[in-house]
């Protein structure tokens, strides 16, 4: 009994310790002033994290938009309200699916890569050699990846939303024959710039911070072995996905909830 209690306490202390280390990593990476050459590092990371994720984002967005339009149409056509499929799809995408699915894909595509990269750098002692040369690895390695994540995620969400809504229009209007006036007009009537698009983008910024933070920290804090890297990469994907879904619920509750 006592042993289990001790294990629990140890686990809690480990966990709090990790949270403390993670906060320090985050703080020290973002605290430094920009230096010459930082821009080059940042652009490289935006390319790695953002540009290379565009294809998976566009493909997933198109399929999700098309499927939503198909499913929505089948159900709404029963009551003769197939024109509101546009509004329904747009609201679901802008408020929930856009930021969340982009977050999940981003964690799987970019987050895991960042963790593996930093983990391997640690395993091959690149990080400690940098420190010996007087280069701060937090500034040189971690900070550009954090910033790039926070810049790329909202952009990817915008692309996701636009492509998904365009895809739903293609299926709904072009294929199923929904009246384009009702489809786009209903959408424009019901979608608000701040309440739907703005709040959805706010979600994606929060997700971006959390995912890049988890990815960077898991790499930086990994056990410097081959197994350690694999554990850290798994943890990044699992933690980020759970964090995105849980945070989405909390953010929805706060932003759209009826209680004030």
């Amino acid at each position: 009994m006592l042993r289990y209690l001790r294990l629990l306490g140890q686990w809690a202390l480990d966990w709090i310790g990790a949270l403390g280390r993670a906060s320090l990593v985050w703080f020290w990476s973002l605290a430094g002033l920009p230096r010459r050459g930082d821009m080059t590092l940042l652009i490289k990371q935006i390319y790695q994290i953002g540009v290379l994720s565009v294809i998976i984002i566009v493909l997933s967005a198109f399929s999700i938009g098309a499927v939503l339009a198909l499913q929505g149409y089948t159900q709404l056509a029963r009551v003769g309200a197939q024109e509101s499929v546009g509004l329904g799809v747009a609201l679901v995408l802008l408020r929930e699916l856009g930021p969340v699915v982009t977050g999940l894909l981003f964690a799987g595509r970019a987050g895991s890569a960042v963790t593996a990269e930093i983990g391997l750098m640690k395993t091959t002692d690149q990080l400690s050699s940098m420190e010996m040369m007087g280069v701060d690895p937090l500034h040189r390695i971690v900070a550009p990846r954090l910033w790039a994540g926070m810049i790329c995620m909202p952009l990817l969400t915008l692309i996701f939303n636009a492509v998904a809504i365009w895809g739903s229009g293609l299926v709904g209007v072009g294929w199923l024959g929904v009246d384009p006036g009702g489809f786009w007009g209903g959408m424009q009537d019901g979608v608000e710039m701040w309440d739907d698009i703005g709040k959805g983008m706010l979600k994606s910024v929060v997700f971006a911070m959390v995912i890049s933070w988890i990815a960077v920290f898991q790499g930086y804090d990994s056990t410097p072995t081959a197994e350690g890297i694999s554990v850290a990469t798994t943890k990044t994907v699992v933690y980020s996905s759970v964090a995105v879904l849980a945070l989405d619920f909390i953010l929805t509750l706060v932003m759209y909830g009826e209680f004030k």
Partner: protein
């Protein structure tokens, strides 16, 4: 490693794609720029019943949306609902005897406020209250009335 110039161009294209996405969402999806300028002014109206009306419901004149419901409150003295509406500055010549009715869009649609133009020369100003109002028709109450009338015969 890819050359720096290619890298920069692809990152630039990526950012541009994001901006194009935002523009598409703003204009095609949310329809921004339809009279949502700063020239809006506020009107109030008291109703005996606003069942089904929500914040952000439409305010229309002759079937054209000219504003939105901004706030719904209750006047505890008279037990009436006070609806605050934001109306586009383009429509600034509503007379003081303008009527406000709560109507239903389609068969199962949402409630909205329909303004009925009046004939007075004096105009409504920012913050004025519309007195000539007709609240929501509640189907259950109507049915109740009919049943009582039939029963009393």
């Amino acid at each position: 490693m890819i050359r720096m110039r290619t890298l920069e161009i692809s990152v630039g294209a990526f950012v541009l794609a994001g901006i194009v996405g935002l523009v598409f969402l703003a204009f095609r999806v949310s329809g921004v720029g339809v009279g949502e300028t700063s020239g809006n002014y506020v009107l109030k109206a008291k109703f005996d019943d606003v069942a089904g009306l929500r914040v952000r419901s439409k305010v229309s004149l002759a079937g054209v949306t000219i504003g939105r419901v901004a706030k719904i409150g209750v006047d505890s003295e008279t037990a009436e609902a006070i609806v605050t509406m934001e109306v586009s500055g383009d429509v600034d010549n509503l007379s003081v005897d303008t009527g406000a009715r709560i109507q239903t869009e389609g068969f199962l649609g949402g409630r909205y406020i329909s303004l009925v133009p009046g004939g007075e020369d004096q105009l409504l100003a920012d913050g004025d209250t519309i007195t000539n109002t007709q609240g929501a028709l509640v189907l259950e109450n109507l049915i109740g009335d009919v049943i009582t009338k039939l029963g009393s015969k």
